[in-house]
């Protein structure tokens, strides 16, 4: 049957964003969307074999210290050490196993190690700001990093990004690709951050905010934050035509 399902051109697609969880591409308060968001309606694409397959990366893509952003240089980075962990599940609550997670972030002072970032805050010679790991059989992942600082940007007068960590996931298929940002609970900058606010539903925005997690906090060493990630679920019936 499995052979027939793919070889015969009948595939089970992934569920659509009917609830409009994702932000609209044109979100004018985020000024860069005004010249970059496509204006024509997107063309509906029924999922074919091309979209239900996707890149497969395993342990070969991940180095031993890639998950620990505090041990990638000679010394330790400045800042508040944190453990960032959680589970990746699909829309039916099943673990997404062995999938690659990539993160990148500013340092504790709110500066990225990137030429374009000219925020007058110090770079940290011991912090690169990038990491990756694979989820385990339960869909769990764990990074060690430092808490990123807030930083200014030029979107509007006195604009500041809420502190965040960029999170990128492949999931099982081309259709499940997700890049999001993880925020910290209680950030006072949310109300004026048009990227955060581009997600229209408050409950949907809450899904981008990690929670403080005392149970995984390591005594006399690091606070823990939990960030669970949900990728799209699968249609229950095969698509024909």
């Amino acid at each position: 049957m499995a052979h027939q399902m793919t070889g015969g051109g009948v595939v089970i697609g992934y569920r659509r964003d009917d609830a409009k969880v994702d932000p609209p591409l044109l979100s004018p308060d985020y000024v860069a969307t005004r010249t970059r968001a496509p204006k024509r309606p997107l063309v509906p694409l029924p999922h074919t074999l091309s979209e239900v397959t996707g890149p497969v990366y395993g342990h070969e893509a991940v180095g031993e210290l890639d998950h620990d952003l505090t041990r990638q240089h000679e010394g330790e980075p400045i800042g508040e050490r944190i453990i960032l962990h959680g589970r990746v599940i699909d829309g039916d609550g099943r673990p997404v196993r062995n999938t690659l997670i990539e993160i990148w972030q500013a340092n504790a002072a709110g500066r990225y190690r990137h030429l374009v970032d000219q925020h007058p805050a110090p770079l940290d010679p011991n912090f690169g700001g990038a990491g990756r790991c694979l989820t385990d059989d339960e869909g769990r992942y764990r990074f060690i990093t430092i808490k990123p600082g807030a930083y200014p940007w030029r979107n509007h007068p006195n604009a500041w990004r809420a502190a965040h960590i960029h999170v990128s996931l492949f999931g099982p298929a081309f259709a499940t690709r997700l890049v999001t940002q993880m925020y910290f609970p209680g950030d006072p900058l949310f109300f004026q951050d048009p990227i955060f606010l581009s997600v229209r539903g408050e409950r949907d925005r809450d899904k981008m905010i990690s929670s403080f997690d005392l149970s995984e906090t390591v005594e006399e060493w690091a606070l823990a934050y939990r960030f669970d990630i949900v990728l799209r679920g699968r249609e229950s019936t095969p698509m024909v035509d």
């Binding site: 970059r36 960029h166 690709r177 999001t180 981008m208 035509d241």
Partner: protein, 188 residues
């Protein structure tokens, strides 16, 4: 119990510190006899080059098989080292370039075959979610004409622009995010 997915957010301008390590511009070595340069420029609604985008491509191998467990057509060979995935950023002038091979045809929904194509995702500052398009091949006019996905693009000009054109011994595929000549993007 159905779970609501985590919302998408932009990659912002600084993804280059985290993302290029996996993927890369060369899906095959440049010396591969079937190697094809796939290149182009990404522009915005003002026609300005987008110098802080990155592209991901996903494709079958030259036999038309995806390196993925759900492509169970074991009669078609897999190729050692060919993952079918590439990832590259645009340069100061908005240009990108991959070295890959033309994929074989893959099954279409409801029977028949799709024309050879490459799925493309574009990520950038100012894109709150990736946008997705497809590259088709200029030497496949018959298959392109019969392709159900390509044929579903309503605007004739936009449909024609999804077929790459031959240039300087490679294949050129430009991406216009917005405005005149806006690329056809798919709702995946």
């Amino acid at each position: 119990m159905t779970e609501t997915p985590t919302p998408s957010q932009t990659v912002g301008p600084f993804f280059a510190i985290g993302l290029p390590q996996v993927g890369g511009a060369e899906l095959v070595p440049p010396g591969d006899p079937d190697a094809v340069r796939l290149f182009g420029i990404v522009t915005d609604g003002d026609g300005e080059p987008v110098d802080d985008a990155y592209l991901e491509i996903w494709q079958a191998n030259r036999a038309g098989r995806y390196a993925h467990p759900e492509d169970t057509r074991e009669e078609l060979p897999l190729e050692d080292g060919f993952k079918g995935f590439g990832r590259v950023g645009t340069d100061d002038e908005g240009r990108y370039e991959f070295v890959t091979v033309k994929p074989g045809p893959v099954p279409a929904p409801g029977g028949g075959m799709q024309a050879p194509h490459i799925d493309v995702s574009v990520f950038a500052r100012g894109l709150l979610k990736r946008v997705v398009t497809r590259v088709y091949f200029p030497d496949e006019s018959e298959a392109n004409g019969a392709d159900p996905i390509l044929s579903s693009v309503p605007d004739e000009e936009a449909r024609a622009a999804l077929v790459a054109r031959e240039e300087n011994g490679g294949l050129r595929f430009d991406i216009r995010l917005q405005g005149d000549g806006e690329t056809a993007f798919f709702d995946v």
